[in-house]
């Protein structure tokens, strides 16, 4: 099993994703430089968080036009698992691999805090270790995480089971105050048609070690290794 973490100028969470895959999960992990359309034979691809190109023009806009994204698109088209975290999610939307766009947070401020997510679909490599309806603790740190898509697209996403995560209360309820960035339908993560590409705003790689206070994110990253969770969900 080999995981490639793509690095753009301005990516910050590339090292965090590398640490999680290489040292916590224990798989071979390499970096894929943005200027080369080369994923080094990886079996799974991570587009990490950060501020690629300083978020200039639009978040992820310039990164999405990098040579490496040609390889990522081809890899995704063939069904390869791709996870885009935070800025990675923005890049996936800008490159057309996922529908929609991430706008500025509703309250116009950068928000760094813990949130809760309900898993709405476990039909993807990254969510197969979670149960549908399971609530997990998560962590966001972004200024532009407000998910937008037109009504038609939203309806299609819901209908096809392609909403991966939603912002919810600690008990898994839909109270609007827990949708802190104003995302349409409180959507925190979505899947592509093939369900092999996941984009999500929260950072599972910051919630995957006991010393960091929570391990709920580990299951999302481990999903690419295959298999289902043996026990019932981790909960909050």
């Amino acid at each position: 099993m080999k995981v490639a973490v793509v690095v753009f100028p301005g990516s910050n969470c590339d090292h965090d994703a590398y640490w999680s895959y290489r040292h916590l999960i224990g798989v071979e992990t390499v970096f894929a430089w943005h200027k080369e359309a080369d994923l080094h034979g990886a079996d799974a691809v991570v587009l990490p968080g950060g501020f690629s190109y300083g978020d200039y023009l639009r978040c992820g806009a310039i990164a999405s036009r990098s040579p490496v994204m040609r390889a990522v698109s081809e890899f995704a088209r063939r069904g390869g698992p791709v996870i885009g975290i935070c800025n990675g999610f923005q890049i996936l939307c800008e490159s057309g691999l996922l529908p929609g766009a991430l706008l500025r947070n509703r309250d116009l401020r950068f928000l760094c805090r813990d949130v809760y997510l309900r898993c709405e679909s476990n039909a993807s490599p990254f969510t197969r270790r979670l149960e549908r309806g399971q609530t997990i603790r998560a962590h966001i740190a972004h200024g532009e995480g407000n998910y937008f898509a037109d009504e038609q697209t939203l309806a299609r996403l819901e209908g096809d089971g392609r909403v991966a995560f939603r912002y919810v209360s600690p008990q898994g309820g839909d109270e609007p105050e827990w949708n802190v960035n104003g995302s349409a339908r409180a959507i925190a993560g979505v899947l592509n048609e093939g369900k092999n590409v996941l984009g999500l705003m929260p950072h599972p790689e910051r919630m995957d070690e006991a010393i960091l206070g929570c391990t709920d994110g580990l299951a999302i990253l481990e999903g690419v290794l295959g298999g289902r969770r043996a026990a019932a969900g981790a909960g909050a």
Partner: protein, 83 residues
Amino acid sequence: MTARITITPRKTVLDPQGRAVTGSLHALGFAEAADVRIGRFIEIRLDPPPRGGASEARERVDRMCRELLANPLIEDYRFEIES
């Protein structure tokens, strides 16, 4: 030759910045300020200008907008070419 491009959020997209600014304008006494939308202005000097003159420039700038400068899902764009 200079292209002057204005990019604005599409009407269907919520513009929280515009909404916040509307509120501030009202608080300052400008009750007539309605529906503020905040976008981006991009100026590009075309050097050298295309051989086909302004009409070729228009075609190329339009492509620049569609391929990078604007996200058609959430933004509209318009531009002028000035010699």
